[in-house]
């Protein structure tokens, strides 16, 4: 009797925590989403009943006004998507083996290398703007997706390696040894045994890298003009000399959330799958 009632209380408390936290974190988002369907006049009211309009969305997708930021949303989204996905793919492909090596192997200077990799993330981005601008200008790579991917990779590789190293560290060495005594090489052990176990880690890291690059602003601002401009930079474009275009901006911001949402829902499914297949249990 006692365990079940304690369980009930714990569950109830858990729901309270969850609901409170979810409400608190989603109210501002709710405001943004509803605002995107309101006329600019109504945005600053809390009217629950208002005349909904799709004008803001048509502004950014089709562009009823002849401005740069109106009607080009799909172009910006495409840039953001290509850049983000490339960065994730490359950082996982390059970073995961490196993380594995740091977790499993031992060699001279390992601690220093590990630390140096993390240190690549330590400088304030502001310090690197002008040097990067100059490199890419000289190489005629300004305003290209390539430049952004290169830069984002540099910023996120360290993070990826450190994250994945942590996940590898949590897997006991016995599993490696077991696989190898079964006849696998190090590499096969890595690919067939350890990698699947780190699916939660891969997903988490992938989501984080995606978010860092999807929403990154400063580098995209400096390194892109029209061709490779990403969505966050375009959001700033709604701050105009005559006022902030709240309508289109909330619409763009709402759409901006949709893609990562879909992405993480998709990846989360793999998270669950990874667990049910997990060799760690039993």
């Amino acid at each position: 009797m006692r365990p079940t009632s304690r369980r009930l209380i714990e569950n109830a408390l858990s729901y309270v925590v969850l609901i409170t936290y979810t409400l608190a974190s989603s109210i501002p988002i709710w405001w943004v989403i509803t605002s995107s369907f309101k006329l600019p006049r109504d945005i600053f009211t809390y009217a629950i009943i208002f005349k909904p309009t799709l004008a803001n969305y048509s502004e950014i997708l089709i562009g009823t006004t002849a401005g740069q930021y109106f009607g080009s949303y799909l172009h910006f989204v495409q840039n953001s998507a290509v850049v983000s996905l490339s960065t994730i793919a490359l950082s996982l492909v390059i970073g995961t083996p490196a993380a594995f090596a740091l977790s499993r192997f031992d060699f001279r200077g390992k601690n220093d290398v590990t630390f140096w990799i993390l240190s690549t993330r330590m400088g304030p981005p502001i310090a690197y703007i002008i040097p990067f601008y100059m490199i890419f200008t000289r190489l005629h790579l300004l305003d290209t997706q390539f430049a952004l991917v290169a830069l984002y990779l540099a910023s996120n590789l360290g993070f990826t390696i450190w994250m994945m190293k942590g996940f590898f560290d949590e897997i006991p060495h016995e599993l490696d040894d077991a696989a190898m005594t079964d006849g696998c090489s190090r590499f096969r052990a890595f690919v067939n045994v350890l990698l699947p176990l780190t699916r939660p880690g891969l997903s988490a890291t992938g989501i984080m890298v995606f978010l860092f690059t999807w929403n990154e602003f400063l580098y995209a601002l400096i390194l892109t003009q029209q061709n490779a401009e990403t969505v966050p930079v375009s959001l700033m474009g709604y701050i105009q000399v005559l006022g902030i275009a709240w309508g289109p901006m909330t619409a763009a911001a709402t759409l901006q959330i949709v893609v990562p949402l879909i992405f993480s829902v998709v990846v989360q499914k793999h998270l669950v799958r990874g667990l049910t297949l997990g060799a760690v249990k039993g």
Partner: protein, 496 residues
Amino acid sequence: MSEKKPEEKDMSRRRYLGMTGAAVAGLVVGGVLGYVAKPTVTAPPITSTETETVTVTGTMAPPPVTTAATPYYKQFSGQTVHAVTHDTADHRAVRALIAPEFQTLTGITIDSEMMGDIVLTQKIYTQLSTGATGPYDSGMVHMWLLEGYERPGWLTNLDPLVNAHPWEGILDLNDYVPLFASWCRTSDGKLSGLPFYGHAGCYMYRKDLAEKWGLTPPKTMDDLLAVTKNAHEMGRKEFGSSFYGISMRGIRGADNPHMYFGWPWAWGGRVLDADYNVVANSPECVQAFDYYGKILQSYGPSGSATFHWPEVQRGIMEGTVFSILEATDMPGSIEDPTASKTAGKIGYALLPNGPANTTPMFSYTTTWPVFAHSPVAEAALLWSEYATSGYSQKKTVIEGNFFRTGLTSKSAWTACAAAQPAKYWMAPVLLQAMEQTTNEYMPKIPEVMEIAGPHGDAVSSIVAGTPAKVALDKAAKEIYDILTKAGYNIQMKYPV
């Protein structure tokens, strides 16, 4: 992770050397790359060739020779000008209506990129400061940046070009509102840009409520205090605690020298005197900002210390403030019924006089310079001339029906007011405000933004409650340090 190496001792020394070696190598590589990639620091500005002759290009059939010289503006046919501008209704109007016409007339293609202000300024700065020749040939530059961009030679001197190539019916330097035109000349008298957009300051208030409550626009600062107090109290009785008598900017930082520097003028104060000595903490300035802080603390919204003009403007558009002291270009938004709840209810008056018998100074101009390294400087100038001409301004308003209140051409103002009196009924007041404003209050030095930083920080803390003398003393000291370090031989007239 736990295999111990027997050669630990030896290892540490080798490791140390290895690390040092790697660090040095890194620095060397970085240094070499840095040297190679070092930005070009000086560059001479483009000088124009002053010939009116027609150049014949070596094609199969030479162009027919006419007795009349080919107009100057046709000589650049085939070139493309990359301009970067703000994304505002004015620029959109120009791009939609004026650019096609220009392209047909001159054969010059206009590639106009539009973006938000912060982004635009950063991109232009990054391009100019690294000596790049592109991607932009010309762009919008706030007038307080003009001096700082002109002195290192980043901008083309427009005088020789403008003098050598008059453009009948388009280019008329005397048609620009004198206030805005004067902002386009740098301290050495050189014309460094053309005025695209400009404003002075005025008092905007709810004339419907003023009528109801028996209030009239204030003529002096004492009046302002009284009117604001009344409006505040009556407004709260009627609308509740979210109504305020007045709203003005209070945000920190260097973004508002054109307003903050000019505020003490009404008390006889200024930030730097004519010889650049620091007088930012003079008794007049202290009085002026004491007033500024107190009126906002008593009758302004509680967020005033972080308010920039969008927040101030929104207050009046939402109907939560009775009055604002703001820019004369705001009617364009305030009178727009799709965006403003108070369209049609706003009255416009001149700023009130202070104890020194003059209004505070408040002015701004967006200038349109041509960048020095542009390979198509003359063509870019032609576009700027055309786009800022009285003719274009008139056309966008009268033919395009864009409601532009930042016009810089006197003839355009007159023509628009005559053609659309229902919209431009407040034009006389705005023009009078522009006439009454000088830009003497803002020093034309490259360091103006840098000294605007501590000054703006001080204003913000005054609005948030710091005593004016304390904040201004601190700002004055910092301004003095900045200028002496930059090489000015000056004094603090009111030492702390």
